[in-house]
């Protein structure tokens, strides 16, 4: 649904050049929620703004719904933007317009007539659960309500794609959860493809099907969230399952085990104890529900050096577990 190829964008100011996006390739499939995770300054905001060409990339192409946006003249580009919704961290609502007026704005831009506009606005506000606040002004709303208005406005043009620029970063955890749920729900009910950028792992955990990790303008890994989490050495996995640096325990082998999705492989502690008569010590662990499945990592200590433990480790690998010797 969205193909980004070879995207580059640099900023020049006072003789200095900052490369914000440095050769990014990315593909978002139809109907999925795709999260780009990165710290501030990683270039994720620039990346997102290049998708609807709010920023014009220096190089590369952006194809949305089969149309190469980078090749379009201004007028056609504006028409295509109407089919790409966008929501913003600080909501970006017009303070001089009511809730209904804000949602009507994109419809006015599209040239929808007054009667149809009113009807569509009412539908959209119902969709986001704000049917009774149509005549309120944004200043009278809570952050969560403002973002709901933002979402209703973004959906006005019946977009196939929604871009989300840190849409929950200015909200408290509870409100974040409700907005994410709404996005997930819209994704499922309307088949809306969502590309979001965030610095919050929570967002990726809760609603993303796929994700990419962006560092210094480059994608360091990308793929389905579940695959990434069960892949040893994954940057996303390390972010989610924060086991910290391994402790110094002389005479032991410390091993990080990535747990598989199914629960069958999880009885390995008892299995090792029975089979090799070793005391398996659990040092740290983290199990999270991600993308409707469970994934986790467990750090265990086995007595003796890695050579001594060769057989147990092989046993774990044969059972389909990803095993890394941490120390």
């Amino acid at each position: 649904m969205i193909q980004i190829e070879g995207l580059r964008k640099a900023y020049h100011s006072r003789g200095r050049t900052v490369v914000a996006v440095d050769g990014v390739d990315l593909e978002v499939r139809e109907g999925e929620v795709y999260g780009v995770l990165g710290r501030s300054g990683a270039g994720k905001s620039t990346l997102l703004r290049c998708v609807n060409l709010l920023e014009r990339p220096d190089a590369g192409t952006v194809t949305v719904d089969g149309v190469d946006l980078t090749a379009l003249p201004e007028r056609r580009l504006r028409q295509h933007r109407q089919r790409i919704g966008m929501i913003h961290q600080h909501f970006a609502l017009l303070s001089s317009r009511t809730v209904a007026g804000n949602v009507a704005f994109p419809l006015e831009v599209m040239g929808v007539d007054r009667r149809e506009r009113a009807q569509r606005v009412a539908e959209l506000l119902d969709l986001v659960g704000l049917g009774d606040r149509a005549r309120a002004y944004p200043a009278q709303l809570s952050g969560g309500q403002k973002q709901r208005v933002g979402i209703a406005r973004a959906l006005a043009g019946r977009p196939t794609v929604l871009l989300s620029d840190e849409a929950t970063s200015a909200l408290d955890p509870e409100t974040t959860a409700s907005i994410l749920e709404l996005l997930r729900d819209l994704n499922r009910r309307l088949g809306l493809t969502i590309l979001l950028i965030t610095h919050e792992m929570e967002v990726v955990k809760r609603i993303c099907d796929s994700a990419a990790v962006l560092r210094e303008g480059r994608i360091v890994e990308s793929g389905r969230v579940r695959d990434l989490l069960t892949r040893p050495g994954s940057a996303l996995g390390q972010e989610i399952f924060r086991l910290g640096p391994p402790p110094d325990l002389p005479g032991t082998t410390i091993v990080d085990v990535t747990l598989p999705d199914d629960s069958a492989g999880r009885s390995f502690v008892a299995d090792l104890a029975r089979r090799y008569d070793v005391d398996v010590r659990i040092l740290a662990g983290s199990i999270e529900t991600v993308a409707d499945g469970q994934a986790g990592r467990l750090r265990i200590a086995l007595p003796g050096s890695a050579e001594v433990n060769e057989a147990p480790l092989r046993r774990l690998r044969e059972a389909g577990l990803a095993v890394e010797v941490a120390r």
């Binding site: 709010l54 295509h80 966008m86 913003h88 961290q89 001089s96 994109p106 599209m110």
Partner: protein, 218 residues
């Protein structure tokens, strides 16, 4: 001087001030909005970024604002004659008043529009809005409270400037205060005109505040 003499004088002066300030306010609002919007649009990163144009407009505005009004009034006499055919009278006073107030208001317009959230402009662009739509439906509309507050300041500045219009025979309350109150030591005229001017300014400020409050939803 009795109240019977004073009354018609004051009435005449008030009418002249009202006329001069009224007409120049309308012209200033139009000219200042246009110039202010152009200043914003042509600025770096603006919707019509053009640095030489921006610099030229900025220079014109600054020159206009540097000249003391009394100097401007005299300096542009040839321009006034070319425009309205005369250099004396109320109509002739409107020209320098407008020329002085446009740059003043243009800067206020520029500042008010700059206050509009950049994200909101980005959002409008993301929705496919065209440049005119962004200017009229987003920038000017969102800046409305600031624009009205700025126009109020401008009108009051115009009332102040109009006191000097007597130099070109423009008349008005300020002129009355100078000719009768100052030059002829008619203290009653001085006091009456000052009181009237205070009332004018007060009314305009209150009206401005009222409109700002009505427009503002922040």
């Amino acid at each position: 001087m009795t109240w019977a003499d004073l009354g018609p004088l004051l009435w005449q002066g008030a009418k002249e001030t009202g006329y001069m300030v009224g007409v120049s306010t309308v012209l200033t609002a139009i000219g200042g909005l246009l110039l202010g919007v152009l200043l914003v649009l042509t600025a770096r990163g603006g919707l019509l970024a053009a640095r030489p144009v921006h610099a030229a407009l900025g220079l014109i505005v600054n020159i206009g604002r540097s000249l003391p009004f009394i100097i401007l009034l005299v300096a542009i006499i040839p321009f006034t004659r070319a425009l309205v055919g005369t250099t004396i009278g109320t109509a002739a006073a409107i020209v320098p008043l407008t020329v002085a107030a446009i740059p003043f208001f243009a800067r206020i317009v520029e500042t008010a529009i700059r206050e509009v959230d950049r994200d909101v402009v980005a959002a409008a662009r993301a929705m496919g809005a065209s440049r005119p739509e962004i200017v009229f439906k987003v920038l000017l509309r969102e800046a409305r409270p600031g624009l009205v507050a700025g126009l109020t300041i401008t009108v009051i500045a115009l009332i102040g400037y109009s006191a000097m219009a007597g130099v070109v025979g423009g008349g008005g309350l300020g002129d009355l205060a100078i000719r009768y109150g100052y030059q002829r030591f008619e203290n009653s005229v001085m006091v009456a005109t000052v009181v009237l001017l205070v009332v004018f300014v007060q009314l305009i400020q209150s009206l401005g505040d009222l409109i700002v409050r009505w427009l503002s939803h922040k």
